[in-house]
């Protein structure tokens, strides 16, 4: 599989193989699914620090006068109010309000830095280029790798690095709180660091020139707190954290309200609209959506996977979009879309797994408490 001629290699391909990774095709790249094992890697990230190679993701820069206004024509965030060095989670929406992608948007002070999903990045770029006005420039940073260092000890490890602020008017590294980001110099290498991630843990995502990615990865792995973590644990970590995965829990057929991501529609945008699909999305927001993304706790040990149908008695009321075993909970969990009247916490439902009905209950997400270190926290 890894020899597949159509598969592209990540900048850290050689390092992954030296570290004993099992490589699988994902988003068009050969990527590490696991090193020592998903459960061990998952638990390590929850207790120490895990290093993830997420270089398949698309890193984009939007530059030019009016970039915030233009982003507001594509996504429902309040980018005009996004302060320099702050990060927001947002959604790229189709004209009917369906979700084309989910993304992170950072105001760098001079531009907007976007991180989009690997499997959708080329479609996203085409979508944005087709709507790009004169005077704005969209740059695909395909010469950069992206590493994520996630876990409660990520801050300990990063604090040992000699990181110099790139500009005077940005937060020093020690002051970087969750959902903030800036550029820092390390050993002559410019790193774009955001305190963010997709595991439910505190941590960082680090943009690094591809040519220097291995130097940085080796430097991180030299710390006893850090182990390399594959895509398998990344999936189980984000599932426990209640974070949707694009292409599974989010698709063009799903709206932000149905996905229970209305927090990504900023207050001003809720009042003013003006984003793609605003009429439909705001109608759902104020008057209700037909279905909703929920978390399901599953009785017993048998996992329910994506595609399994959800039932209330003899009526199918939904479908599982992500499901698996939650290592930190030692139990199977799932995300599903169910009819809104059955989406309340505590609702008893059943899931059909290979013709067997297993009992499930709607529970709040995250399934496991997140460990973010936010602005105003003491740490």
């Amino acid at each position: 599989m890894a020899d597949d001629a159509d598969l592209k290699s990540l900048p850290l391909d050689g390092l992954h193989r030296r570290l004993g990774a099992r490589m699988v095709p994902f988003a068009g790249y050969a990527m590490p699914i696991q090193y020592e094992g998903i459960i061990a890697e998952h638990s390590w990230t929850r207790t120490h620090a895990g290093l993830f190679d997420v270089s398949h993701m698309g890193q984009l820069l939007v530059e030019g006068e009016g970039a915030a206004d233009w982003l507001e024509s594509l996504a429902p965030g309040d980018f005009k109010a996004l302060q320099p060095h702050r990060v927001r989670y947002s959604l790229l929406l189709a004209d009917n309000g369906g979700v084309l992608d989910d993304l992170m948007v950072t105001n760098t002070g001079k531009s907007f830095y976007l991180v989009v999903n690997g499997a959708t990045k080329h479609d996203d770029i085409a979508h944005m280029q087709a709507r790009l006005p004169a005077g704005l420039h969209l740059h695909h940073m395909d010469d950069h790798a992206l590493l994520a260092l996630q876990g409660p000890e990520a801050v300990t490890v990063m604090s040992r690095f000699d990181l110099t602020s790139d500009t005077a008017d940005q937060p020093g590294f020690a002051d970087l709180k969750f959902m903030a980001g800036a550029r820092y110099l390390w050993n002559g290498i410019t790193l774009g660091i955001t305190r963010s991630g997709y595991t439910g843990e505190d941590g960082y995502e680090i943009s690094v020139p591809a040519a220097q990615a291995e130097t940085l990865a080796e430097a991180l792995l030299a710390h006893a707190e850090v182990k390399p973590i594959g895509l398998g644990a990344r999936d189980s970590l984000r599932l426990e954290a209640g974070l949707p995965l694009y292409g599974h829990d989010l698709t063009p057929q799903i709206t932000p309200v149905e996905a229970d991501l209305a927090f990504a529609i900023s207050k001003r945008r809720k009042a003013e609209g003006g984003f793609p699909g605003a009429e439909r999305v705001l109608d759902q927001l104020f008057n209700g959506a037909p279905r909703k993304r929920v978390g399901l706790a599953i009785e017993g040990r048998m996992p329910a996977r994506e595609g399994a149908t959800v039932w209330a008695g003899e009526t199918q009321v939904g479908v599982v979009t992500s499901g698996g075993f939650a290592p930190s909970l030692n139990a199977p969990i799932a995300m599903a879309y169910v009819e809104t009247p059955l989406a309340a916490d505590g609702t008893a439902l059943e899931i059909d797994v290979r013709g067997k009905r297993i009992a499930a209950r709607v529970v709040p997400m995250p399934f496991r408490q997140k460990n973010y270190v936010r602005e105003g926290d003491r740490k």
Binding site: Q34, H42, R305
Partner: protein, 126 residues
């Protein structure tokens, strides 16, 4: 007692006076490919399985994978230890981590299976 192997990475150990009783599991290579096993959906005693047909499902953290019957027969017992500790499939795939026992309906079906040397060579070729 003789142990045979399939190209789908199951093993079957035939035993008993008549040579018609057998124990089935998955190989060490298979468990390594699957990763951490978290659940095994085992066949009920009395279930009739056909050679190459679906007999069990093994769930790793990541995915569900079918386990096929190496030969045709009737399931007599499934491994109760796997219900409490599915990770036995990882730690002892060709021993305590067995899946089920069955009574063969046609012992000649064993003729098409591999012995250990042939299976090891097959795995080495993958």
């Amino acid at each position: 007692m003789s142990r045979y192997y399939t190209q789908d990475h199951e093993w079957i150990e035939v035993s008993g006076f008549t040579g018609l009783s057998a124990t089935v599991g998955i190989t060490d290579y298979a468990q390594g490919q699957l990763g951490d096993v978290v659940f095994v959906d085992l066949p009920e005693p009395g279930r009739v399985v056909a050679k190459g047909g679906e007999a069990a499902v093994v769930e790793s953290v990541k995915a569900a994978s079918d386990v096929y019957a190496p030969v045709s027969g009737t399931v007599t017992e499934s491994n109760p230890a796997l219900t409490d500790d599915p990770s036995l499939v990882n730690s002892a795939p060709e021993g305590e981590g067995w899946f089920f026992k069955l009574t063969l309906s046609d012992a000649s079906e064993l003729d098409g299976l591999m012995d250990k040397a042939a299976y090891d060579a097959f795995v080495a070729s993958l």
